[in-house]
């Protein structure tokens, strides 16, 4: 019984950490215009819409976060092998991983923008300096929380995988959660506030992203500020639920039928979520769609 109570405590802690990680990850990727919104930021200058939006396309979020978290975990593993204290090892590992992330961010922005010289898109040094540091700060929170989750899973719950492999798996999961949950909010709504709500991106509007802010010209900090409110917290809840439910079902039901109990509960959770998702989808369609208004608007 004590074993289970301890496990549930660790599960709650990792769930909370994962929520923080998810929120920080989504905000970081939105400030960097990473993931699918990136294509429009990349396209805008080609359509004649020069902008001051940060554009760091290192890779899709899952591989990129796979690397940052795996790297953080690898450093932490190496420092712990050198007899460092675990907390110090994780912090140092995350700091070094964030350094790599920051360097990749700068080279991505400078390289992409330099290749767009034909369309007159300039490289903004002030954007490079102010956005990179903010993404690094958010990335540190995301990486530190994720590596800590991996450490807890490995040490407190006795997972057999070594720390770097857990970092890889949970890093990819974190990137996928942020990419799937948070990105549409930035890519479809924030970049296209000048279009009808929920209308998607018509081809004629491609590249015509919002470039001016309440005062002056919009930069990616404005986007980060905006998406942190709903996109970030939704990503946080998503990743938090993934980590929490995954560990919860393992801790409580692993003893039943030689591990099959946890698998059956996992399948049940998927079914429950399928029903909830379907209900929300139908509800949203009924209230906001289908987009019958579009014809009237264009005529």
């Amino acid at each position: 019984m004590e074993h289970i109570v301890f496990g549930i405590g660790i599960t709650a802690l990792t769930g909370a950490l994962a929520t923080v990680a998810g929120a920080a990850e989504d905000t970081e990727s939105n400030i960097g215009s990473q993931g699918d919104p990136n294509s429009q930021v990349q396209l805008a200058p080609q359509m004649g819409f020069l902008h001051r939006i940060f554009n760091k396309a290192v890779a899709g979020e899952p591989p990129a976060y796979g690397l940052w978290c795996c790297l953080g975990a690898g450093f932490a593993w190496a420092f712990m092998a050198m007899q460092f204290n675990a907390v110090l090892a994780i912090v140092l590992g995350s700091v070094l991983a964030v350094f790599v992330q920051g360097v990749y961010a700068t080279t991505a922005y400078v390289g992409r923008t330099a290749s767009l010289s034909k369309f007159g898109q300039p490289v903004y040094v002030d954007i490079l300096k102010s956005m990179t540091t903010v993404t690094m700060a958010h990335a540190f929170i995301a990486i530190f929380a994720t590596v800590t989750i991996c450490y807890l899973i490995n040490t407190a719950l006795g997972h057999p995988f070594p720390l770097p492999l857990l970092g890889l798996i949970w890093g990819i999961a974190l990137g996928a959660a942020g990419s799937a949950t948070g990105n549409p909010y930035y890519g479809k709504e924030r970049q296209y506030q000048n279009q009808k709500f929920g209308a998607g991106v018509p081809i004629s509007a491609s590249g015509n992203i919002v470039r001016y802010a309440e005062a002056g010209e919009r930069n990616s900090l404005d986007n980060g500020w905006f998406t942190a409110k709903i996109g970030g917290s939704a990503s946080g809840i998503c990743f938090g639920l993934i980590v929490f439910l995954e560990l919860w079902r393992t801790i409580l039901f692993e003893q039943i039928a030689a591990g099959w109990g946890a698998i059956v509960v996992g399948v049940l959770i998927i079914l429950v979520f399928t029903v909830i998702d379907r209900y929300i989808e139908v509800w949203a369609r009924k209230n906001y769609g289908p987009y019958t208004e579009a014809k009237e608007a264009s005529s």
Partner: protein, 282 residues
């Protein structure tokens, strides 16, 4: 039906880069064998140089392949390079001294099969596919072997699976504290996979320049070498790890500065806190 989306010519021809890449990678990998001959770990840094040579070749291969609309993003090319390379690399480590050559040959076979499957069975019909996937599998295998040599000082299976722990003055053999047991190979996998795709992914566009992209590859290579050198402190002697780290930092600072100079050369303008320039019609 595929369309070549970008036609960018000029610069060093691909075959020249490929031959230079494979020769220098194999030479650097074999130079790490000096560790065995001299019973030290001082020559581990040659593994890092092998990584950089292989990455420069590989990133140019990705440029050749991804100039066609392959239907997936550029990062996927890096993933398949290392996914196919890791199999060949792990199997080849059983062959001792011959490991790098066996890895290259095995990876070429695996890459060729994958290229054949994608082109003829999945019907992707991209002219450069078979050759590119073959090359990239070799690059993936040799890069992983370079990382292994840099972090552990060798590329044999025994060296990658055993480490030492000191408990109360006694040195014990352990499998957990090793390149494979600690799963540092996962870190090496992603370090390489992101470093190989990033240069083309970051430099693609109408203003693509070969020298700028290859300089960025060298920069990514040295950056990955810094990361791997820091991790190597856990597995090889401190002095040897410091040599690797110093070489990596010097190389990284130089290539990063050069890359910024080249980007400044190619950029439309290099502005600090200036508004969006006026464009006619918008």
């Amino acid at each position: 039906m595929t369309v070549k989306v970008e036609v960018i010519e000029g610069g060093i021809p691909h075959n020249k880069i490929m031959i230079a890449g494979i020769v220098s990678t194999l030479v650097c990998l074999y130079l790490t064998y000096l560790n065995v001959l001299t019973s030290t770990e001082m020559f581990s840094f040659f593994g890092g140089l092998a990584v950089i040579a292989a990455l420069i070749w590989g990133s140019h291969t990705i440029k050749v392949l991804c100039s066609y609309g392959i239907g997936t993003g550029v990062p996927s090319a890096g993933m398949i390079a290392f996914g196919s390379g890791v199999i060949a690399m792990l199997l080849a480590t059983k062959f001792g001294f011959y490991a790098p050559i066996v890895a290259a040959v095995l990876a070429a076979v695996i890459g060729f099969i994958l290229g054949y499957v994608s082109n003829n069975i999945l019907n992707m019909k991209i002219p450069a596919m078979v050759q590119s996937l073959t090359e990239m599998a070799v690059v993936g295998a040799l890069t992983l072997m370079g990382f292994a040599a840099l972090i552990t000082g060798g590329f044999t299976f025994a060296g990658l699976t055993t480490g030492h722990v000191t408990v109360m003055g006694m040195t014990l053999l352990t499998h957990e504290q090793s390149f494979l047991g600690g799963c540092l190979i996962a870190v090496a996998f992603l370090l390489g996979a992101i470093a190989i795709q990033h240069p083309f992914n970051a430099c693609l566009g109408p203003g693509w320049q070969q020298d700028r992209m290859l300089m960025l590859t060298a920069e990514c290579g040295f950056l990955s070498m810094i990361a791997a050198a820091i991790m190597s402190f856990a597995l090889i002697s401190t002095g040897s790890a410091i040599i690797s780290l110093l070489i990596a930092i010097i190389g990284w600072v130089y290539t990063y500065k050069e890359y910024m100079v080249l980007s400044k050369r190619d950029a439309a303008a290099w502005l600090d806190a200036k508004p969006i320039p006026e464009v006619e019609g918008h």
